[in-house]
Amino acid sequence: MNVWRIALRLLRRDWRSGELYLLAAALVITVAAVTAVGFFTDRVETSIERQGSELIASDLAIDSSAPIPQTLDAEAKARGLATARTVEFRSVVVADQGPRLVNIKAVDPGYPLRGELRVRQGVDTLDEPAPQGPSQGEVWVESRLLALLGVRIGDTLGVGETRLRIGAVLTQEPDAGRSFFNIAPRVMMNAADLEATGLIGPASRATYRLLIAGEDERVASYRDWLEPRLAANMSAESASKARPEFATAVDRAARFLHLATLTTLLVAGAAIALASHRLVERQTDAVAVMRCLGAPRRLLIRIFVLRLVLFGLIASLVGCLLGWLAQAGLVDTLSGWLGEELPPPSAAPLLVGVTTGLVSLLGFALPPLLQLAQVTPLRALRRDAGRPRASAAITLAAAALALGLLILWQAQDPTLAWKLIAGVLGALATLILCVLLLVRLAGGLAGRTRGVWRLGLAALARRPSGAVLQIGGFGIGILALLLLAVVRLDLLRAWEDSLPTDAPNYFLINIQPQEVEPLRDFLAESGIERTDILPMIRGRLTHIGDHQVEPSDYQDPRAERLATREFNLSYGTEPQPDNRIAAGAWWPDAEAPPQFSVETGIAETLGIALGDTLTFWVSGHAVSGPVTSLREVQWDSFNVNFFVVSSPALLRDEAATYITSFHLPAGSDALIAELSRRFPSVTPLDVDAILDQVRQVIDRGVLAVEYVFAFTLVAGLLVMYAGIQASLEDRRAEHGILRTLGAGRRALLGSLAVEFAAAGLLAGLLASVFAETTGWLLAEQLFELEFSFNPWLWVMGVLGSGLAIGLAGTLATYPLLIRPPLQALRRAG
């Protein structure tokens, strides 16, 4: 016999009767959320990489201290990749007022491959995008150079042996951030003019750069080809390894997105569980009848499994479609950020969506359904013939397994996943315990109250397992809503605040010791309050403990580079305000004995532990001291920060230059020009461009996360609806009896209101506790953001939930009351 046909028919009939809507909705939401985020992150990751690309004006940049052989370009072109070349060097340009040290960058017509050049044609005109660099015979200069040299657009500058006309003011250069530590004012020229200047010879110091861009796979395979061919003086940098500030922001955005998906998964999982539970409860009698009518158990099992799989497949596909649409809407919302030429999303998320749907459905619904097949046919004759109590242990285990698998799979970060799973299990256990306690309390209260109150509270206490399910459902729904509030109001805001509008956008470096005080005064006079001017000492790490540091000790290329490179060391009495001591303790005062504080990330990379003695080679001698604290540094704060800081005693007497950062409002070119005149050796660095990009990631990230959380919201509402539905069945019978016994509608309505409001209050209380704890944990553990407790959350959570659930539950159950008692009784029979 055709089991498939029966399964399909039964499914169609169940669907038509409305029995499956709730479960379907829960499933569709889960799948839609997972696929939307899947489709979306697919594209976001691409766009995030693009943004990384803008910072190096390409997808791959090859730097060299000598001219780069043409073979590298040729190979790239042969692979269908775009190329461009730039040469950067320090030189002097001459105007009527005299010479000036500048940083020249000669670019070919291909530049930039990624990102945008912007220039201003006049003093007061707005800047506009330029498709390529200056044409031959022209230079573009930074506006402060105009002030420094007293020249204007249209004047000519002596560049080496030739003269070039100032064609425009350069306002944005995508890869400006790369030249971080060697900036004099920028002068950009056409590469074709380079030879005429005579500035570049075999012995001249310059950075030659070959830029590559194209499809991801091609770039990656080119990089594989390139790696063994890189000469010692060359290095290659991919887009994704862009600036740490940027990487931090992107990383956070990704974490938020994944967190949002996981939350949806959890909440929708609860809805699926509740809906499955109800479905199974309602099928018990049907199964007994079918067995009476001659259906063997294994036939029923096959029918059940098939029906469930068919249902899961259909619902999942609908969910995928919805997810795809949602993703399209999301991309539309963020179009400015993502760019139009994004590749369409791949089909992979479809698979993810369907798998998620099936796994969660089977995990939650299959065990109880299978146990249902054990129902004795006797039940059709004798109502009291027991139904097999679905073994709570098996059901829970299957659900936990399904959810755990999905979380592990979706989180992409096993530590996060395990923490989450542990958290969820802990929360669930606490929830059940609390509800049982509270229900008992309600029972006790019922004994002391009268009338409506007594009926309502007793109803809650009468079915402890039902109450656990129901209050659990409400609790999880409210928790979703509150978490939404926590994430929206507290976490996302903390994230936005981590980069305030007055975040430092200028760095001053190469400040000489004798300039520190005059500079401080100058900045103060100019209305710039922030005057943390920090010492900076170069030093190479030679020993960790007794072990001599060799680059070859490290597998990780980053560690290897760090091990060879000179560190920027600093000393101070207080840690920087955005630092957090993760282990050990900061020294008490300026007179503390020699010791170091190391940033956690680098400590991990280089294998430095608390208590290790570090030895640095500083200006011709060794200095050493123990590591007494490890610090977490918020790199995207744009404050000056150091990997390694010592107590003053250790480095105070070494030769140092100084560095500071501050916020300069837009349009302060004159101030920078004045500063450059007064302190000629000081180099100002403008990081506005990077700052803007990071801020954009944050803004868009916040939007994307809110969008994804909308799914959580829907899932939360579903769960609550499922909670109300869960007790409807029992109630039908109960109310019929109560009404035949003469209970008035008004009294029943009152008792309903009391019962649901009490359930809502309890759920709200539990949810508030969980939401605040979760928010706090997330902020501290996952996002490293400041978290503040939110009293409103409690008010809203507890009162709002009592009110909302009291109202919704009463309204949903009200139709039962209007029906004549006989009908209610008969249907219950």
Partner: protein, 227 residues
């Protein structure tokens, strides 16, 4: 294969249960034999064990003593699934509380046992059965849209559609008013005749019992003949 003359038989049937208030012997050495096409009424006080007897005769439950034969097979020789298969298509049920599946329409309820046993021409049979009970017009209605009497008629159509050899009816009129109850019994007897099925009818109402071939009373765990 020819059906045996006796469709249902109990020999020395006993049922003992251990309840929370100690042991209880519901059936005690009960004998019964029902021939093909015979209509037997079982009367007895509430709680005397009538439903228990039905469930044992139909193989829904296991006896603690004696044996039960159904359609030529000994129940004790079969496992749960074997008993289900034995019932399929051979045994019909009508319950006091109708036991229609609420998510299926009247027609689909009648179709269900036919589909579950993979019967040929299920749709035609179901339609014919519905016509027999006079509910063709209500075929697309859900149980909740039907009156009690109509629901029971659907249940009878469901029981009758697979053309069973035995029909068990446990107080089929218990939830119905007098007049409707009589109609239902009428229908049951009519269909029994048409299908040549045995009918085992549990009822409280001596007037309804009158219409059966044989009347038995359940007392002290045994059956006594009333004619």
């Amino acid at each position: 294969m020819s059906e045996p003359r006796t469709v249902s038989q109990a020999i020395g049937l006993g049922k003992h249960v251990n309840g929370p208030a100690g042991g209880l012997t519901i059936l005690d050495g009960l004998d019964l034999e029902i021939g093909a096409g015979e209509a037997v009424a079982i009367l007895g006080a509430s709680g005397s064990g009538k439903s228990t007897l039905l469930s044992l005769l139909a193989g829904l439950d296991e006896a603690t003593a004696g044996e039960v034969w159904l359609c030529g097979r000994r129940i004790a020789d079969l496992d749960e699934d074997g008993r289900s298969e034995l019932r399929g298509g051979r045994v019909g049920f009508v319950f006091q509380n109708f036991q229609l599946l609420p998510t299926l329409t009247a027609r689909e309820n009648v179709l269900l046992p036919l589909e579950l046993t993979g019967t040929e021409g299920a749709a035609e049979r179901a339609d014919a059965a519905l016509e027999r009970v006079g509910l063709t017009a209500r075929a697309g209605h859900y149980p909740r849209q039907l009156s009690g009497g109509e629901q029971q008629r659907v249940a009878i159509a469901r029981a009758y559609a697979p053309r069973p050899s035995v029909l068990f009816a446990d107080e089929p009129t218990g939830n119905l008013d007098q007049q409707t109850g009589e109609q239902i019994i009428e229908l049951l007897l009519e269909l029994r005749e048409a299908a040549d099925a045995a009918l085992i009818l549990v009822t409280h109402d001596p007037r309804l019992a009158e219409r059966c071939d044989r009347r038995l009373r359940m007392r002290d765990g045994r059956l006594e003949s009333l004619t």
